[in-house]
Symmetry: C2
Subunit: 333 residues, 2 copies
DNA sequence: CTGAAAGCGCTTACAG
DNA sequence: CTGAAAGCGCTTACAG
């Protein structure tokens, strides 16, 4: 026998038509039990597995979903754990729905064409875009082509593409409120890059909470890397030597800030209280263990997949879903 | 117009046969330049993109490759950076070859059936298996079915499946030799789990190098996690309070060991020199910065993809490729 | 160099 | 409930 068995061969062996085999394979209820069994035996004996390409050609479905990861997240071979978390969440949900995950790296302009062509070639039923820098045109352009899309994080700029995000503003407020409740009075922040929603929103949350308390804001901006956290922290100390607390918009930057504080001879939390954001694995092992805001990365991945599957199935979905964040109190604040 | 344009429509618009359009799309050299241009214009005007399913059905190729990640690597939401590195390397190479990456999570027995069926459905042209615990039957079973497979790391047990691995034995020897050259005399090791090749080989390297130097070996076993590194380190100190060096089989375990040494009042490297393995991002930021063995994770991913593509193309490939490791000397030893 | 035709392996109205 | 037949959108010998 050459190659894998086909429907045709199963039909012949079972003594029925191809249509009937197809019905059995696809679980149609209108098949007489006796015939169903004969067919199933033939399938088992031959080790038949449906050819996906042939099936897609007629159903116009592929049962695969693309997950687009922005290139920049990968460029630095980073300690950040968002990528595996996203993948994990998305794949859990897709697996349960018996869909396949196609991974594409690259939010760079040069990758757009490739991704668009791929989606247009109907190689996937829909697209999940993990997160973006700036006002990426990709989600909108796919959306316009009628391809189901869900974004991770609110797209910047004009957009009607549905998205799933984590409540960054709320998380930042939790962090700042905690510092206020601990009696801190000069609360600075190391903000993230202002061309990313996470950077923008975490700073907005800081500002809003502080505003309610009448304290003035003290801001330095980093780019979510450890080094930038140290640099920003030094700058904050120069700007206000009397600051007694810092909300750092990412754990990685918080580690950098910790180093800078130590160099400057400040004790944490005695002199300066510190709260991070993300709750990466290493946060528990920092010295002192880092108080931080936990965001449900895996949950976000799952929710994105869930929404996309609904969209693919033709259902209506909310234009946005926001997941709650949570403060994890350890020793640094 | 309903749906996306087809070959047929392009042919009609260009006033040629479907065969000719197909030739132009696939870059056949036997097309008259003038006709080629007419067709290309029609393609551009219509925004034609070939339907992948239809193409696969006749070519019997899908131009996609599956990357299988073991579930366990994901279970702990870990600090380990191997996964993104693998993905990065594989996707770089596949992108260059214009192949797609399908990601499947799960080396668990329950996932085997799903993966096998998927490969048999010809949804992918070949399979890359990132790494395995124990003697996983998956590579062999795919191999027997005639599906091109390449493994990351030598498969345990009997196997004829080609693999790409990093020279763990050599790396461990580099580490131990370095400690010997620094004049250390009582060199212990925290080994990795002995059901994983990386665990086994790094211990073998330690033993071999030590054996050449006539020193006795002092061994404790961890499971590559930070916590297990601390536990193992305490045990080593109890076993031999006079040890003056440790080769730890992973950086994460080395971080745990560092904590345990600090608790025990030992200075690193003054009292005890420490060498890790992996060179994860955090190694540079440890206190003291960690001397460790760097392994080319991205390079391994790329090489696996390269070998698999050759296999898919029908070429012969070596039964194994071993990539060199390198000692990165920092302050801990 | 180009076209007519067969065929890849399925699903799905449409009859019966 | 089952089968004959059409058709999904391509590629590729085979003629010419």
């Amino acid at each position: 026998m050459t190659g894998r068995p086909t429907l045709e061969q199963v039909a012949e062996r079972a003594g029925v038509s191809r249509a009937t085999v197809s019905r059995v394979v696809n679980g149609s209820p209108t098949v007489t039990p006796a015939i169903r069994e004969t067919v199933q035996r033939a399938i088992a004996e031959l080790g038949y597995v449906p050819n996906q390409a042939a099936r897609s050609l007629v159903t116009q479905r592929t049962d695969s979903i693309a997950l687009i990861l922005p290139e920049s997240e990968f460029r630095v071979f980073s300690e950040d754990q968002a990528i595996p978390g996203f993948i994990r969440g998305v794949s859990q949900e897709l697996e349960a729905a018996d869909k396949q995950l196609v991974l594409m790296v690259g939010g760079s302009p040069s990758a757009h064409d490739r991704i668009e062509r791929y989606a247009l070639a109907r190689h996937v039923d829909g697209v999940i875009i993990a997160s973006m820098h700036g006002a990426d045109p990709l989600p909108n352009s796919l959306h316009r082509m009628g391809i189901p899309v869900v974004c991770g994080g609110r797209p910047l700029g004009r957009s009607t593409v549905p998205y799933v995000e984590v409540d960054s503003v709320g998380g930042a407020r939790l962090a700042v409120r905690h510092l206020l409740e601990r009696g801190r009075t000069r609360i600075a922040t190391v903000a993230g890059p202002q061309d990313m929603v996470a950077g923008i929103d975490r700073l907005a949350g800081y500002r809003r909470e502080l505003q309610d308390s009448d304290r003035r804001s003290i801001v330095a901006v980093g780019d979510f890397t450890r080094e930038s956290g140290a640099v920003a922290m030094r700058q904050l100390l120069a700007d206000d030597p009397h600051l007694d607390a810092v909300f750092v918009a990412s754990d990685l930057m918080a580690f950098g800030a910790l180093t800078a504080l130590r160099e400057a001879g400040r004790r944490v939390p005695d002199d300066v209280a510190l709260v991070g954001f993300d709750d990466v694995e290493q946060a528990r092992y920092a010295e002192p263990p880092l108080t931080t805001v936990r965001q449900p990365i895996i949950g976000q991945g799952r929710e994105m997949a869930r929404q996309l599957l609904r969209l693919v199935a033709g259902e209506d979905i909310p234009s946005s879903v926001v997941l709650p964040t949570e403060l994890v109190v350890r020793s640094s604040a």
